[in-house]
């Protein structure tokens, strides 16, 4: 069982326009995937289908060889943060972490001790501030979402543009976290970003999407950044 995620003939369209069309894609355990593409390339739609939030028009997404639409086992080891819609915004961050931890049978003390490792990442702006999540800035909401996905000890982690709203220091910390996850803990990570520097630095495999198709699938090396920059500059 080498393939963590396998996508077969996946298609989705809205009003006759194809948004995602992927004949085949396999993602191995421990791989770290960077998903790049311009706005409207279909990245978020792909994420949503991998998380069974959208019903594909055709094809299937297999997680550990099981179709995500028919089973719920993938929820045990897959965590994600796509947007604020994933957060329960009327809870305080602590309550939210405790709730999420409770889903994986962790008690509050366990969660609290696990949250200690995020002290730097949170930069003193999340915990014990006495704010509801809805009153946090977008960047801080992103931090809550990412931390909540991490405390669930995932085997697969999906983040949609996690670098977009956070400050430079946190970006660097997040990069280190993601690198460590895939290299040392063998966690499969799929991260999308508009910042080519970030993804080439963090991910060992880059998928380039355009109009719903994966048009490039490259193992990251020293030339990858140049190659990608060239592609995007040609487009313009």
């Amino acid at each position: 069982m080498n393939n963590m995620i396998e996508i077969l003939n996946l298609k989705k369209g809205y009003n006759g326009v194809t948004v995602v069309n992927i004949p085949q894609l396999s993602i191995k355990r421990g791989e770290s995937i960077g998903l790049v593409g311009n706005n409207g390339a279909g990245k978020t739609t792909l994420f949503r289908m991998m998380l069974d939030l959208i019903r594909p028009d055709a094809g299937e997404v297999l997680s550990k060889e099981k179709n995500v639409a028919n089973t719920e086992e993938w929820k045990d080891y897959t965590t994600s943060y796509l947007d604020e819609g994933f957060l329960i915004d009327y809870l305080t961050p602590e309550e939210y972490f405790h709730f999420i931890g409770g889903l994986h049978n962790k008690n509050k003390a366990q969660i609290d001790s696990e949250l200690v490792q995020f002290t730097e990442f949170f930069n003193g702006e999340i915990l014990k501030k006495g704010k509801y999540i809805r009153d946090l800035s977008k960047g801080n909401q992103t931090k809550v979402g990412i931390a909540a996905s991490l405390i669930q000890n995932p085997e697969v982690l999906m983040l949609d543009e996690p670098f977009a709203n956070i400050d430079p220091s946190t970006q660097i910390r997040l990069k280190n976290i993601v690198k460590e996850l895939s290299r040392e803990q063998q966690i499969t990570t799929i991260v999308s970003s508009h910042d080519l520097n970030h993804v080439t630095e963090v991910c060992d495999r880059i998928l380039l999407m355009e109009k719903g198709k994966i048009i490039k699938d490259i193992a990251t090396n020293s030339n990858t950044l140049q190659e990608l920059e060239q592609y995007f500059s040609v487009l313009s």
């Binding site: 998380l51 939030l53 019903r55 929820k75 947007d83 819609g85 994933f86 009327y90 409770g102």
Partner: protein, 490 residues
Amino acid sequence: MTLTFLIHQSKAFWRSKNTGKSIAMRIVMGILILYLLLNVLVVAFFIDRILEKTYPNQEIIPSFNSLLMYYFLIDLLMRFQMQELPTLAVRPYLHLRINKNQLINYLSLTSLGTAFNLSPLLLTLPFLIKVILPEHGPATFSAYILAITGMTLTNHFFSLWLKRKVNLNAMWMLLFFGTLILLVSLDFYFNLFSISALSAQIFKSLINTPIYCLIFLLLAGIIYLINYRYLKNNLYLEELHSADNSHKSSTEIPFLGKFGMAGDLAANELKLILRNKRPRSVTMMSLFFMFYGLIFYNRPDFSVYPIIFCGMFMTGIFIINYGQFMFSWQSAHFDGILVSKIKAKDFFRAKFLLFTMFSTISFLLTIPYVYFGWRVLAIHFIMLIWNLGVNTLLVLFFANRNFRRIDLSKGSAFNWEGVGASQWILSLPLLLGPFIIFLPFNLLDYPEAGIVTIGLIGLLFIVTRAYWVNKLIEQFQEKRYTIAEGFRNE
């Protein structure tokens, strides 16, 4: 500039994603308001007769005068409860080269368009024409109109100002209600002074010296300026945004801990209700329904029908009021629920837990109705069983067919967001269900058997709940994509 704002707002309305639905809703609402105003007009037309009947020993005009101030007090209370603050999203304009005065003028001007400002004149105009005009002449007549307009505007801007104050600091609300309670208790309990006498005095002097009506207009002008200056000094994002920055504590509900995952979910939903404006006001309104029985039971001979009806409403008001928007409450984080390790079964069990809790509390609150006979209490209990057995399932059945997003931070009075066909269809079986069962028994003259049957059917559905919940879960799995997609559309 005001015109530009108006155009922008009309564009915002017509181009919003929900335009089709909201137009239909507005038409329904318009008809409703028109109907209410029509009622007001009918009452207004016969106000002299009504006054004659109620105060047979008094002349009409003094009794009319003495009631005016009460009316405006009640008007103020109603405004405070229901009137919405004008909602131009001023945010995109604040940083542009637009005078603050223009923004404020627009906010003040558009706020005037509510039925609250129409009803005082509608209510009094027929009386003024029928009675005041022939008796005291056109000068007094126009003085009255100006005075009433002045009072209306005073109330209008005062309530806007107060609401904005309350948004920033809840102490103002306590202060406001405290003053009101003090006034009313001084009037009714201690008889230290009388609002009606004061009111009669004021308007009597208006009849004698019509020019006094300018005082009312002056008052309105002063309040307008206060409101204007207040807005001008507070037209900043953080202050318009009504978020209060007090420390939020993490509340825990130990009682729910016993129910495992479903308990945790129910605890979350309880927080949803307590911490968000709309569900909170829906639940508060449910409390008012506890007085529903008083309307019907006060009559000397009431039949079984109203008890069934009131019993169902009072014990099931939470299921009906809150349940009709099931899943929509969670629309903002529905994606999060779907990808989390939450079993659909626990998700549904949490709803039942919540329903059972609130309905039981409602039932306990209706126990004082035993004053109207043990029969009332027994039927209430049977209707509780009916609610828990049948109406919970009914509400959740329709929840699987409800794809409308709800913004939790808006008020609930006259808020039609999230209302769709499913709410209307839902109300039919909800309202008629028990009567369809009861009617044939009653016609055959076995009302007791009818009530027992309602209870037994309720019990049957409670016992077989697991089966129905599995059916609901199957449907939920089928519909979840559509539900999630609907909730993503803001």
